[in-house]
């Protein structure tokens, strides 16, 4: 497939951009933060996004979705990265939806997907137990008994966990250390007995939850993945999430870079625009190129998802590592080149580095994916 967007994609991007510029520019995030809105995002705005079909982009028509594909969702995420608009797009519309779809569980898909598509239900993925990204280390236990399963354990860093109607949780149904054997995925309704939530406000104003499961009893129909075979599903889910996050970081990079180059043209010192100084010009030119690289790797990875290519894991790590690195550089240069004003809360540029830090860390940082890239290439 040619590495260019088609006309339809271009229209979707334009529509997303004009909606976000109008309804949820950066000041929207600032307002949410200043008002200490508990969800970390606006539920009214999410309803509007869902009305435009954004919650339903990758959901098949049979479950009330648009079946429009990953490139489309990636473009919307990229635009959200520009305005830093918080929403459950990643947690619900991409990660949890993918977990449902990839598990091939007809009953649970019918139960959840139509209401995800319409924006009525939110789900969150709970697959981390350590500080560092380590999804293959699963110590949460699901003991089997006559009526179903009993879960005990803890999950960290659950994105949008505070507002989820249900959680998709990885747990061991068979003891051992090899994630390929004995890990299963469950759907746990948020009102289940024995489920405790501890919600943390993060630096980017998103909300993360810690889940404690104490003798949570589940019926057999809550088993999402094939028994003991949750890891192959989760691995694919994570790659989708990583590519989506890379797309958001691409949008973030472009926006912070455009704001910064504009500032270089406007801000005067020593009687001239600071953009005339070669020391700054060269750094800006290098950053321009880094962002061009990110555009290519994100588009390639999204297309690979649409084609269900075997290269998805490699391209996911390529995209997450490259965009994590570039967005971090763009956000840091944004502050440095703005000078003192870039350090103030009143000025918007600092929002970008906060979101970058959060996106880069979740689902594996650049270093994690550099290492995985090398592993996948066989060294």
């Amino acid at each position: 497939m040619a590495l260019v967007l088609n006309e339809e994609h271009g229209m979707l991007r334009d529509a997303a951009r004009s909606f976000l510029d109008g309804r949820a520019p950066l000041s929207h995030l600032r307002q949410l933060r200043d008002d200490s809105i508990e969800a970390g995002f606006s539920t009214e705005l999410w309803k509007e996004m869902a009305d435009m079909g954004w919650a339903a982009i990758i959901i098949p028509e049979a479950f009330g979705g648009l079946d429009y594909g990953y490139t489309g969702l990636g473009l919307v995420l990229e635009e959200c990265g520009r305005t830093l608009t918080p929403s459950p797009l990643l947690s619900t519309a991409l990660l949890s939806t993918s977990a449902l779809l990839l598990s091939n569980n007809e009953d649970l898909c019918s139960q959840w997907l139509p209401e995800i598509a319409s924006g009525e239900k939110l789900l969150a993925l709970a697959c981390e137990e350590t500080r560092q990204h380590h999804p293959d280390k699963v110590e949460t236990i699901a003991d089997s008994d006559e009526s179903g399963y009993r879960l005990n354990g803890q999950k960290n860093a659950v994105m949008d966990g505070g507002v989820a109607d249900a959680f998709i949780v990885s747990a061991r149904t068979h003891s051992g250390e090899d994630p390929n054997v004995g890990v299963s995925l469950f759907v746990i309704p948020e009102d289940s007995e024995g489920l405790e939530l501890e919600i943390t406000e993060l630096l980017d104003n998103h909300r993360s939850a810690k889940l404690t499961l104490t003798n949570v009893n589940l019926k057999r129909e809550h088993l999402l993945s094939p028994l003991h075979e949750g890891w192959p599903v989760l691995r694919k889910v994570l790659d989708r999430g990583r590519i989506g996050m890379a797309a958001e970081m691409l949008g973030l990079s472009q926006e912070v870079f455009e704001r910064t180059t504009r500032y270089l043209q406007e801000r005067k010192q020593f009687g001239v625009p600071i953009g005339t100084f070669q020391a700054l010009q060269h750094r800006a030119a290098v950053l321009y190129g880094e962002i061009e690289l990110c555009k290519s790797v994100v588009l390639k990875a999204l297309q690979a998802l649409d084609e269900d290519s075997t290269k998805v894991p490699l391209l996911a790590s390529l995209a997450k590592a490259r965009c994590g690195q570039t967005a971090g550089l763009a956000a840091a240069e944004g502050i440095q080149m703005h000078g003192g004003i870039g350090m103030t809360d009143e000025f918007d540029i600092g929002f970008f580095i906060k979101r970058w830090r959060s996106l880069n860390q979740q689902l594996g940082d650049s270093r994690y994916h550099l290492n995985r890239f090398a592993e996948l290439r066989g060294y």
């Binding site: 260019v4 005339t276 700054l280 010009q281 060269h282 030119a285 061009e292 890239f373 290439r377 066989g378």
Partner: protein, 394 residues
């Protein structure tokens, strides 16, 4: 359309199968394997000569050029097929040529009909080898400051002065050259573009020995050299536009060096072969990380080249970005050569002897340091990006 392309692919495949000699179906081992053609070229083998002759006659050494000037007349899709089919049998390029990569595109855009008829077909056939007369001792990064005066003598120009950093100036048959035709005009407005035979009386060439011990560049001196007026290309004193156009082609050519060639082992494969491993991965964690960083960038760069080509095809082009490609590609190649030296350890230090192929690793590593200087330094490329793409002032 796609049926046409399929039958085209069949045609190409069967022609290559009939015409590409077996010896030409393996990656080149050293620079000596490259065929440059030209009057005095000594072919390494009969196979090399035949391969050039056949590809040249077919016009496939310059597959995208119009057929009336000896080219292959291919469109983009056909070009892609030719490349794929050549790669499939590991066919070597039949010809390396500045005539094809640099002069040709400029002549097709700025040359008159007679000039195109005269100069293009011998380039395609590899009969005339061209060299580039651009830089001068005081015109490197500041190329437009070039001074070599070409004075109007009625029916011809008389050229004096000198050029430096002329690639393969000692083996070029003809030179395309930037000369000063109006010394009083602003520096960009008094430059013209001329072509001449290197055997013209008054031209002398002196190779420059580089830190690699090799001499791919020369100094060229002019003493009252007569250039017929028919050999001036484009409008008088408007040569700077041609120069810039040609430079974008040169930069693109140099930037491809950032990518590993097909059929050649990747850095990580090489490292896994020659270095200590542990459970299927490289034992040295820091070098492994450095290689991974390089290969990640290399893959991202390859995808960006692919995207740029697809965008040009779709008419939304990255356009002015050739400077950035030149910058990134050459920096990448320098990293590759650095890492290759690290991977091969003490073996990489050899300077002579058959075992090291006469110190190929060390010499290539040293030579690569010039990649980010020739064709405009990295710093100049970044200036161009800042000014022309980002619109920064000054």
């Amino acid at each position: 359309m796609s049926a046409d392309l399929n039958s085209f692919r069949e045609e190409v495949r069967s022609w290559l199968d009939d015409n590409c000699p077996q010896e030409m179906r393996s990656p080149m081992v050293s620079e000596k394997d490259a065929c440059w053609g030209g009057r005095g070229f000594k072919f390494q083998s009969e196979a090399q000569r035949l391969w050039l002759e056949r590809m040249g006659a077919k016009g496939w050494t310059a597959p995208a050029w119009p057929k009336e000037y000896g080219g292959g007349g291919m469109d983009r899709d056909q070009l892609k097929i030719l490349k794929q089919e050549m790669a499939a049998i590991k066919a070597r390029p039949a010809l390396f040529s500045f005539g094809i990569s640099m002069l040709g595109p400029a002549l097709l855009k700025y040359g008159n009909e007679t000039q195109m008829q005269t100069y293009l077909p011998p380039i395609v056939r590899g009969e005339i080898r061209w060299c580039q007369g651009y830089s001068e001792p005081n015109a490197g990064s500041d190329l437009a400051n070039l001074q070599a005066p070409a004075v109007d003598r009625g029916d011809h120009y008389e050229l004096n002065g000198s050029k430096i950093w002329t690639s393969y100036g000692d083996s070029g048959d003809w030179m395309f050259c930037l000369v000063r035709t109006d010394p009083d005009a602003p520096k960009h407005a008094g430059i013209s573009f001329m072509l001449f035979d290197m055997q013209t009386p008054g031209i002398s060439v002196k190779p420059i020995r580089l830190i690699s011990g090799r001499s791919p560049f020369c100094e060229v001196f002019f003493a009252d050299v007569r250039i017929p007026k028919t050999q001036q290309v484009g409008k008088l004193n408007k040569g700077w536009s041609i120069a810039k156009y040609l430079l974008t082609h040169e930069r693109e050519m140099i930037s491809w060096k950032g990518l590993s060639q097909s059929g050649v082992k990747s850095l990580s494969e090489t490292a896994m072969d020659v270095m200590e491993t542990c459970n299927g991965s490289l034992k040295d964690p820091i070098l492994r990380a450095d290689i991974a960083r390089f290969e990640l960038d290399e893959m991202a760069f390859a995808l960006t080249i692919e995207r740029a080509r697809d965008e040009v095809k779709a008419g939304v082009g990255l356009g002015a970005a050739s400077s950035w490609f030149k910058y990134f590609g050459t920096e990448l190649n320098k990293q590759r050569q650095d890492l290759l030296m690290d991977i091969h350890g003490s073996d990489a230090l050899a300077w002579t002897g058959a075992a090291s192929n006469d110190g190929k690793l060390a010499r290539d590593w040293l030579r690569s340091k010039g990649n980010s200087i020739e064709g405009g330094t990295s710093e100049i490329q970044l200036n161009i990006v800042a000014k022309h793409i980002l619109g920064l002032p000054g």
